[in-house]
Amino acid sequence: MIALLRHGRYVVGENPVTGAAFALLLVLLFFALFGVWIAPYDPLATDAAQTLQPPSRAHWFGTDQVGRDVLSRMIVATRLDLVIAVSAVALSFVLGSAAGACAGFFGGWTERLVSRLTDTIMAFPLFVLAMAIVAALGNTVANIVYATAIINLPFYARMARAETNVRRDAGFVEAARLAGNGPGRVLAFHVFPNCLPPMMVQVSLNLGWAILNAAALSFIGLGVRPPTPEWGIMVADGAAFMVSGEWWVSLFPGLALMLAVFCFNLLGDGLRDLIDPRRRT
Amino acid sequence: MTVPAAAVPLLSVEDLSVEFQTRDGVVRALEDVAFTVARGETVGLVGESGSGKSVSALAILGILHPAARITSGRAVFGGLDLIAASETQREEYRGRELSMIFQNPRTALNPIRTVGRQIEDVLVRHANLGRARVRARALELLAQVQIADPARAWGAYPFELSGGMCQRVMIALAVACSPALLIADEPTTGLDVTTQAAILELIEDLARRSQMATVLITHDLALVGERCDRIVVMHAGHVVETAPTLELFRAPRHPYTARLIASTPRAGARLADLAPIPGGVPDLRGVLPPCRYRLRCERAAPACDEPPLPRQQIARGHLVACRFPS
């Protein structure tokens, strides 16, 4: 543990960009946890007299078309967006890697079944499939999470299968088997933990993509419904006004999205350097 | 295996030094490397892994890794200093006047291009033949390197051929324009023993027929003992000894050469008779003593730490880089 931390500090020192990304992650987490209390205005409070005001001292990021403070909405939206992304990726990771690990370890029918499933999912353009799932199941936040989780399953399943396959015949696995562990225990406690490091890289990169996906779904009107503050839907709200020059309604939530995704991508790259420096580009 | 009495050597390498820029510092891969190759001669370039044999050859041809820098030296080939020449000039010489074959022939050929096409690429580039004549010549070459069924091989991809056949194809590529010099960098590594012998026979055969000089790069001293007129021994980027083959084996003067010979497996010797050389090739980064064998040498003395490393001519054609040659 200590060694890992020391190595971590070395990597962060070597690569200040990763350090910056980590700091940014902490900022995001802070806003997600405490945003509701530190937002200057009530994110849902409208003000007919103050519609479409440009950034000013009273409203740092301006107001939207019904007079709500953009900054407050942005801060509060952090929690929703992060929760959606994290739950979707977590669900995807748990189910996908479990399925993939079983497929890689046991082979045979399990492998064929999991392959068929992932192939079917991957036969669709992924965003279109997410749209279809949300349309079919209903326009709720939970369904956005499920849809995003489903379309991410194949990545984890394939990765887990490949990693498990490689380690299946390794010496330590044989040893565990000889020690009397049943195949399930061998898979769960010996093989799978070794597959985790490269998959963590994938998780981090996936988080960025999950945020973009959820935001895009909200942008086209699926999932989150007004007046809930969420970055994607805020950009959608402000889209019409962008054309006529009121740029602040869309720009700030868009920038927030960009920063969050950027942060996760950089973290993923940093993690990759931490785990396997050979793959550094 | 007689050496013709030509006075001017075909290839003369002088004071060749090469550096590599790496993340951990500058690696001085070669320092003042010098040797010559006469017309029609077979020279063996031997040494451990990392001694700089391949780097020397790549430097002469001008196809080093981009991180490498030639800091000094000349490689005079047929009157032209290849190192000082322009890339355009070098491109003219490569493949036509001097060529090189590599180890791992399977990966050294373009995987998505038929073998015949690859030979024709060389012919089209260097020989001025018409399209039809090029195809015929390619088939001729494939037959010359003793490939059965040249027509079928012509249309085959490297992955469809065995390692031995791929090496023959590489040789065909290399001798397509009858070069005066062929450099063979570990051509038999990775091949089975019978194929190894066949490939070396083939190279010798081709060399004899067209008076082509050969430089055989290998770590296998027994191999060069059998097939080479002269041997150049390298260690950690230095040439430590150069001598005609018989003389080298009969009376090695450099301590490294002696130990190298003693550690080479030979018929009649038991494993216990073979004496390994202590230590390993030194780290080529940072400051190094003038003699890079110093730390492994049983004859080392304080005088060995004083630059420069002396290069003495013991006898005709026999050079040693040592302060205390035997």
């Binding site: 068929r116 669709f124 749209m131 895009a216 086209i220 962008m242 950089l266 | 493949g95 995987p111 290399a174």
Partner: protein, 342 residues
Amino acid sequence: MVRSPLLRMIGRRLLAAAPGLIGVVVVTFLLNRALPGDPAAFFAGPAATQQAIAEIRTKLGLDRSLPEQFALYVRDLARGDLGHSLTTGQPVTADLLARLPASLELTLCGLVLAVSVALPLGILAATRPGSWIDHLARLLTTAGVSLPIFFTGLVLVYVFYYLLGWAPAPLGRLDAFSTPPRPVTRMFLIDSVLAGDGALFWATARQMILPAVTLALFAMAPIARMTRAAMLGVLASDFVRTARAAGLSRHTVMVTYALRNALLPVITLLGMVFSFLLGANVVVEKVFAWPGIGSYALEALIASDYAPVQGFVLAMASLYVLLNLLIDVLYGVIDARVRIET
């Protein structure tokens, strides 16, 4: 027996694509059945009696068992019947065919733009490591994958339309003053050229620039990154070293030996790029009011009109399967290792 290895490979790929198509049909059927609400009640209207609803349910076949419904569904599909749109009143198939050219034209333009910038950028970045091009390429790829596509589109509109006035208003394929050309392919760029109408060609192109650039920016990042990485790998390979040792010209080494091999992973990547592009299409069509199948599906979705949505998903998925097939074939044309069965 077909002797050409290429044709045999195409045959194999076609067979391999079949399960994918079957899966697509099954999934869209299941999703259709999962739709919220009772379709029969919806069709019958708010004032319908129970009996009227029951009659409609029978007519729609909703009272049959699931496998029977699936058989009916497949039968309808085979006839090209994707149902009717409630909002337009037309058969969905007709609607889709009418609006598909607009989406195809946009996606193709975006892809062509992306490839023509990303490929040279990746190649130059690999052959000139450490130069400004290399840094630019790396900046583009890192930033490109982080940008939400709807955001880029909006920012482009703001800068180039509102601030600079260079681009026209994002109102669709043509401005208010132009009429569409005579329909041949239904792709305005091609049709206007065929009709010899230069002014119309430029009017169409002007409307197309911003949405195509938005799509292109999205696709550029992964393509440039892969091209650079693949080129770097290939340039350090053994066979390129052999080619250089044989004195082959720089052009031959770069193109015939290096680039062709480097393109292989890029071609494989195109599959994933298409997946993203087809999805991104929907978003871009919304931002720029582009009358393609994406906006068709979105309009239907908002109106709870589900047949068009289903038809859209089916169309996109089939298109995707076809594109992947083409990519596989292209790969096999270049790389003999997948073409020839050893």
